[in-house]
Symmetry: C2
């Protein structure tokens, strides 16, 4: 008699014979998405390159960006004045890394001493989260404390208890909207509690990585409460740094990044930037502004992205539902935006499934990668990145993933 396990094993061998080479790891735009911004390459020319105010962007100057780019990111990052915005180079990751680096070497505004001079510095890392945030902490010797992520964001009971008790806890990473990898958006209550919680450290900072601020998959996007407004209302205006970029909007690696926060925080940042740079690439800022025209232009542009990637997300969800629905082997998120779907298996299954899929030529993000120290305590989370492969590749890859989930579970039974 053929058991279910035999059937799964037979399917596994069949799939192996196909010599697949598929990749569900990469949270990067697909070529069709990049094509959406191609016109931008023709908008700054030898004959026509000046800023909106007629200034020459080809020379030194402009430490924190050209005026129209600051106005644009003022709307994008939802702050109230250009003085609350600093434009960066091609990467918000660099802005985040450098902000942590400056905090370690000098402290932030109001620090009694550089964080690097303290015996210990800790960050709260709601997980699963973004591996590069955790890598920055590890690089600077910052101890990471994992807290859970609930449907409405970081588990605030855990967060509040931690920050109140321990003045070596200096920061928290939050991807507030369509989070990497869960796709969830932080609720208004969580925003309020983050702004109002009592922290033992008087120079505690929220690193608010709003990487997917405008990356909706559906017409009706998630609403996100305004963290800077909330912090100001709580008399904690300096508590938050807000990061964003056009990397997954125009060209990944040739976009424009920005950071926002209280005027006091931005003054602190400009004071540091003056030692590091004369200013970011202004010609690329002009290129971006001519392409978008204004923030409404960006919103229209994002609908074109959604039209391309929504069917890819749907393909993942369709296969998951068809192959694993109702079997009690996995849960997954159905995000309203962003770049990822988070797949939660039963405890102890993630590493096995990633290894099995790899054997079949389907590369998945390493199990554990979404947790501090690459350690998923339940070994259950797998991050799926559907934007780069084609729909056909996604379907094939997800069928393989589902087969591996079933096989891993059955082998154990």
């Amino acid at each position: 008699m053929t058991t279910q396990l035999d059937t799964l094993k037979a399917r596994f061998e069949e799939a192996k014979a196909e010599n697949l080479d598929l990749d569900m790891r990469r949270g990067k735009p697909g070529p069709e998405q990049l094509d959406l911004s191609l016109a931008m390459l023709d908008l700054v020319t030898a004959d026509d390159y000046r800023t909106a105010t007629g200034d020459d962007p080809r020379n030194y100057g402009g430490l924190d960006g050209i005026p129209e780019m600051k106005s644009f990111f003022k709307e994008f990052l939802e702050v109230s004045s250009e003085a609350e915005v600093v434009i960066g180079g091609n990467s918000s990751l660099t802005l985040m890394h450098d902000t942590v680096a400056r905090a370690m070497s000098h402290g932030v505004a109001g620090s009694e001493k550089p964080w690097g001079k303290l015996d210990k510095v800790k960050f709260i890392c709601p997980s699963p989260g973004y591996d590069r945030h955790f890598a920055i902490c590890e690089h600077f010797g910052i101890e990471m404390i994992t807290v859970d992520i609930d449907a409405d964001g970081p588990n605030m009971e855990q967060v509040e208890a931690l920050v109140k008790a321990d003045d070596s806890i200096k920061g928290i990473w939050v991807v507030p909207k369509y989070a990497n990898p869960t796709g969830l958006t932080v609720s208004e209550e969580v925003v309020y509690r983050l702004a109002n919680m009592t922290t033992a450290a008087n120079d505690f900072r929220i690193f608010w990585d709003n990487a997917y601020a405008v990356h909706h998959l559906n017409e009706e996007g998630d609403a996100l409460a305004n963290i800077l407004e909330a912090c100001k209302a709580a008399n904690q205006a300096d508590r938050v740094f807000i990061f964003g970029s056009t990397s997954k909007i125009t060209f990944a690696g040739s976009g424009v990044s920005a950071v926002a926060g209280s005027e006091n925080n931005m003054e602190w940042l400009r004071g540091h930037l003056a030692f590091q740079t004369i200013g970011p690439d202004k010609l690329n800022q002009v290129r971006h502004m001519r392409f978008f025209k204004d923030f409404n232009g960006l919103k229209e542009h994002m609908k074109k992205h959604a039209a391309i990637i929504k069917p890819k997300f749907d393909a993942v969800l369709e296969v998951l539902e068809r192959e694993l629905g109702g079997k009690g082997l996995a849960n997954w998120t159905n995000p309203n935006g962003g770049y990822f779907i988070s797949l939660d298996l039963n405890e102890g299954q993630a590493k096995k499934v990633v290894a099995l899929a790899n054997e079949l030529g389907v590369k998945l993000t390493g199990a554990g990668a979404t947790f501090p120290y690459k350690n998923d305590p339940k070994d259950s989370n797998i991050r799926l990145a559907p934007t780069y492969p084609s729909i056909e590749e996604i379907k094939k890859a997800m069928e393989v993933v589902c087969l591996c989930v079933e096989l891993a579970a059955s082998s154990e039974a």
Copy 2:
């Protein structure tokens, strides 16, 4: 009887009445120089944007630059392989700042501990030098030790004695070619001695800011010995970081920067960069490579810069010679390249002259700016930057400067 002082004072009042507004401070390209690179803006278009190898530069990837850009800077920075090159963003200042920052937070390759964990870190600062180098040191709490600059570079007796005796001395800044502000080029002997000197610190680094590597004013440029080769020959391959960029070649602020050094140093750097960025803007690298085609293309391009700025340097020198020649009031450099002329007054005159010129509407770089802690011990050096103003403006400004030099000297007598 009218004295010479009366005449000078009368001329001063006349000049004042002209309400001049001239600026000799800015070491930045003039608009005609920027026009030389305008064609670059049309070389990456919606239809045609790929790298030389046909790769797509619009997406993430390429931590240390596209292959052809690395080959280009291999020649530019005169190292022997692409593995000895890392491409940066739009600013070599950022590469220098970040290298110091990394050394402070983590140490360089071979450091026993992060420099920031030591009781004291000191750098040798040959002076007059580049104010932004000194500012980086001050920002990171690095103590600066001033040494003299002779006609062939840093005074090596002073340097050798210092680094041999003190293991807290971790670095030296050198602008080896057409230095800021002296315009002098380091001799082969000085290169040899820098590579071979005994340093008490085993992780000592030369910060070799070759900002004016190709910025000749005359057909026959200064020759500069190869520092990395010299360090390798001295069995000190890791001793040097070499920095360069196209900022004063194409567009200032929208150029491409690079750092070079031993493979070991570049591996160290790549290891750090991976936490800070996914990689520099590749589209701008493609733009640059299409414009230059190869390193010979760059050399031809630099002749066009020379044709524009040589007459500006000549204008400064002509007025200095005409107004101050043989009077014993000043010496000045006659550089073979670079962006500056260095004016040395008699002791105690620089601040007075800068203030007087300012009164007449001619802005000069602050006296002392070219020394650590903005402190010129002799108060004699003034940096003149002739590239940005027009020739007419330069002549007028320099006549004012010379008048102020004479007046300052006479008022004292």
